[in-house]
Symmetry: C2
Subunit: 140 residues, 2 copies
């Protein structure tokens, strides 16, 4: 237990224990990743954490290259997962904004080290990725 990803609950459980924690999840990490999985979810969380309540349109423009369909979709999932709160002001023309819930904020904080890791190693990572995508697109 010097530098493992973490102990899910107890210090050093027999490996199998970790694969049978709750209904669907193998461990905390698994649970977390299912919630943040989605091409734009981290970005959404990112902007929401940064800019507090933000209107749909602004978010849409902040997260570049995302389509309405997918953005809405991911927002709905985040909302269903209790990370994001949607506020509909019932005005016309429509006004809606999104913000993080308490749970969402806590997740955002847990993401900080990942963010840092990525920033720190972005050069390495992007070099490797560039190569891979290079010969993926060229030679299939």
């Amino acid at each position: 237990m010097s530098d493992p990803v973490s102990a899910p609950t107890r210090p050093s459980p027999p490996v199998q224990n970790c694969t049978r924690n709750l209904p669907g999840f193998t461990c905390g990490l698994d649970a977390t990743l299912r919630v943040v999985a989605g091409k734009w979810k981290p970005l959404i969380l990112y902007f929401l954490a940064q800019d507090g309540p933000i209107r749909y349109g602004e978010l849409r423009r902040a997260v570049r290259d995302v389509s309405d369909k997918v953005l809405i979709q991911q927002l709905r999932e985040l909302e269903a997962d209790g990370l994001v709160k949607r506020t509909d002001y019932k005005e016309v023309p429509p006004r809606v904004d999104y913000s993080l819930t308490t749970l969402g904020h806590s997740l955002a904080q847990a993401l900080v080290p990942l963010c840092a890791w990525g920033t720190e190693h972005m050069a390495e990572v992007s070099r490797v990725f560039a190569e891979r995508e290079g010969w993926n697109r060229k030679e299939g």
Copy 2:
């Protein structure tokens, strides 16, 4: 900057800056998630961090329900990304083991808070997921 996901590089950059950091990545978080994206990668990292060098077969049995094809595939990607080291002992019958590189270890550590978050909120998350999967499978 009280509780945002993180500042990618500078303290409080205009939002757009974050979407244009390096070739493919929007921010550190994005870079990280591309590397750990994959149904079994976190688990793989998890076991590798926990059990040090581990043989393919053992890993296969530890990460339940994964198919050979996908496990190999994800190991290859992790290897290509410099997170995992593959050691082939060139024996017959084949003997190969996998371990984390230094980079892999650092990532594993960055994953610890996520793991903790998941563990802490697993009840909430799994409840919500259970519902979703419930009516997904029943009513399409």
